[in-house]
C-alpha cells in the first residue's frame, strides 16, 4: 500500500488541462480480482482498474458506480516459433508452423467474435492485424477477420500434410492480460475441433515471460502494444527482431520496415506501414485475436479519463 500526496507547488494545478481536485491518493494493490471488486462494491475504494469482464454488469447495476472503458493500444495474439526445425512439444515432424496453410487454418478455426461475446462479455474488439486502432496500418477494413470455417481449416491442414492434425503446447500467462487463461482455454477447445491437440500450459507471468523471450516456447499467447503511438515499434519487435521476435522472416516486410524507418513523409510512411501489416496478415505471421479494453470501475462522483495504457492520471481526476 502506498500513498501519494499532491505537490502543492506544482505549476499545473488548476490549469484547464489538469482540472484535478484530488489531494491524496491511496494505492492498494489487490491481486485477487474478486476481492478487488468486492472492495469497490463495499465502498472502500473509489476506483479500481481492470474490472474483470464478468463483473462489469454487476458493478454497473449498482447505482453508486459506473464502468468506463477504452480499447487498449495492445493487440492480443497467438505467436509461433519459426526458429526451431522441430517443435519440442509437438508430435509432428518438423515445424508445422512454418507452413502457411497451417497458420491459415488456425486463423479460420479461432472464433474471435464468440470469444468476445462469451469470455470478454463484449469488452474486446476482434482483429486480424497487429496494429491497434488509431495507429498507422489499422483500418476497420484491414482488421476484418475471415469467417470461421472449420471444414476449410481441416482441408488446409490436410493439404499442408497434417490430415490427422498434430499436437503442440500453448504457453499462456494466467495473470498478465484480461482473461488470458480463459482465452487460451477457449482457443484450445476451438483448435481441438480442427484436429490440433493443444496442451495448455498456464503460468504466472514471470515464468511465462521467460519462455517467450527465451524463445523456448513453441506456441504462445502474447499481447503487444506501443508506448509511442507508433505502430512501427510493434512491427519492428514482432516481425523483424528483438526479444519478442520468434523467427518470422519476410524479405518484403524487412525492406518496407527499413524504408519506413527512414521515411520522413508521414503519409508515405503510413502507407508503407499499412502494407507491412497487410503482408503480415496475409502471411498469417501470427494469429491476432483482439484488442482488449481498459475497463475501470469507479464511484459515480469520480471523473477521470480512462487511459489506454491503464495508467490513471490523477492530475485530471475530479471528485465531485
Amino acid at each position: 500500500m502506498s500513498e501519494l500526496t499532491r505537490n502543492k507547488d506544482w505549476w499545473g494545478t488548476g490549469t484547464p488541462a489538469f482540472p484535478g481536485t484530488v489531494d491524496v491518493v491511496e494505492a492498494r494493490p489487490i491481486g485477487n480480482s474478486a476481492t478487488r471488486i468486492a472492495s469497490l462494491l463495499s465502498g472502500e475504494l473509489d476506483l479500481v482498474t481492470e474490472v474483470p469482464m464478468a463483473d462489469i454488469a454487476r458493478v454497473e447495476k449498482d447505482e453508486r458506480f459506473k464502468v468506463e472503458a477504452v480499447p487498449q493500444l495492445r493487440v492480443i495474439f497467438f505467436g509461433y516459433n519459426y526458429l526451431k526445425d522441430k517443435l519440442d512439444s509437438s508430435d509432428a515432424d518438423g515445424n508445422p508452423f512454418r507452413a502457411l496453410k497451417v497458420r491459415q487454418a488456425i486463423n479460420l478455426a479461432l472464433d474471435a467474435d464468440l470469444i468476445k461475446d462469451r469470455i470478454m462479455r463484449g469488452q474486446s474488439e476482434p482483429t486480424s492485424i497487429l496494429s491497434p486502432p488509431g495507429l498507422a496500418g489499422h483500418s476497420l477494413e484491414a482488421a476484418k477477420r475471415p469467417a470461421v470455417d472449420k471444414e476449410k481449416a481441416k482441408a488446409l491442414l490436410a493439404e499442408a500434410g497434417y490430415p490427422e492434425g498434430f499436437s503442440v503446447r500453448l504457453d499462456c500467462p494466467n495473470n498478465r492480460y484480461v482473461n488470458d487463461e480463459p482465452i487460451c482455454q477457449a482457443a484450445v477447445s476451438m483448435l481441438a475441433k480442427i484436429g490440433i491437440k493443444v496442451t495448455l500450459n498456464a503460468l504466472p507471468k514471470d515464468q511465462w515471460g521467460g519462455l517467450v523471450t527465451g524463445k523456448k516456447s513453441d506456441f504462445y499467447l502474447l499481447g503487444f502494444g506501443t508506448p509511442t503511438s507508433d505502430s512501427h515499434f510493434i512491427a519492428g519487435h514482432l516481425l523483424i527482431g528483438g526479444p519478442f521476435h520468434t523467427g518470422y522472416a519476410n524479405k518484403k516486410v524487412a525492406e518496407l520496415m527499413d524504408q519506413a524507418g527512414k521515411e520522413m513523409d508521414s503519409d508515405k510512411r503510413n502507407a508503407m506501414m499499412a502494407e507491412v501489416f497487410a503482408i503480415a496478415r496475409d502471411d498469417a505471421a501470427v494469429a491476432p485475436l483482439h484488442y482488449q479494453m481498459v475497463t475501470w470501475g469507479m464511484d459515480k462522483q469520480l471523473d477521470i479519463p480512462v487511459d489506454p495504457n491503464n495508467l490513471p492520471d490523477f492530475r485530471a481526476a475530479v471528485m465531485k
Binding site: 491481486g31 472492495s39 462494491l41 463495499s42 472502500e44 504466472p204 515464468q207
Partner: protein
Amino acid sequence: MISLFIHKLGQLLFVVLATGLIAFAIFSYAGDPVDAMLGDAASEVERTELREQLGLNRPFYLRFGDFMGQAVQGNFGRSFRSNEEISTLLVERLPATLELVLVAAVMTLVLGVTLGLYTGSHRNGWSRFILSASLLGVSMPTFMLGLLGIFLFSVHLGWLPASGRPGTVDIGWWTTSLLTLDGWRGILMPTMTLAVFNLGLYVRLVRAEVLEIRTTDYIKFARARGLSEADISRHHVLPNALSPLINVAALNIGTMIAFSLITESVFQWPGLGLMFVNAIGFSGFPVMAAYFMLVALMFVMLNLIADILLVVVDPRLRRG
C-alpha cells in the same frame, strides 16, 4: 528440570538447523540467482564473474554456514523482484500477520475452552448443537469460509470491508489495527475466518479431554467425598486438562500462522502470508525461504513457551 530445558533447547537448535538447510537448499538451488540478476542475455564470462563475486563457487558447507550466519542476523538477502532487503519486508509485514493470528488465537482459546468445557460436562441440545457446528467448522475449508464471508458481509450487507488492512496506526515500527474502530472492522472477518477451523478442533479436543478426565478415579473419589460439581470442574477437571490444552494450543497457533496465508490471500491482508503466496507467483525463492524459516522459528518458539508453561502447570514435571 534444567536437563529438560537443555534437551528442549537442543531440539530447538536441531529444528532451526534443519529448516535452515531446507531453506538454503531452495534458496541456492531452486532459483539460480545469476539468472535472476543478469537475465538471459548475459555472456558466460559475466556469469562466471558474478558467481565468483557472490561466492557461489565455494564448498557447500561454507556457503551454508554463511547463509545461517546471515540468517541469524536477520539478513536474508534481497528480493529478486523489488530488490528490497527481505528483512525490511519481513519487519514491515510481521505486525499484520501477528495481530491477525493473535486475535484469532485469543478467540479460539477463550471460546474453545468455554464451549469445550460446556459440551464436556453437559449432554443437552445446546451441547449437541455446538458439537455439530464444530464438526461443520472443521469441514469447511478456510478459503470457502472467507469467500462466503466477503459475499455476505461485504457485498450483500456492506457491514465489513472485504480487503486490506484499514484504520492502522503506527507505534514506532509496529503498525496496529487494534486502536481504531475501522481497524477492528477490518480485522474482524479475517480473524473469524482463520479462527473457525481451529476453534472447531479445539472445542472437540477440550471436550474429549474433559470426558477423559471425568472418568478418572480421582474425579470419582472427589465425588465420593461430596464435593460439588462446580468445585470438581474448577479444582479438579480444569487443572488436569490444562497440560494437553497448552500443548495443542501451541500447535494450533502455529497452524494458524501457516493458515494465515490463506486468509491473507483471500482478504488481501498485507501480511507475511500474502507476501509468500505472491512470491510463489514470481518464483521469489529468497522471500519463500525467509518466510519458511520464520514460520518454523515461530513454531519452535511457541513450543518452547508451551514447554515452560507445562512445567508451571504440572508439578510432576517440576522435580527430578
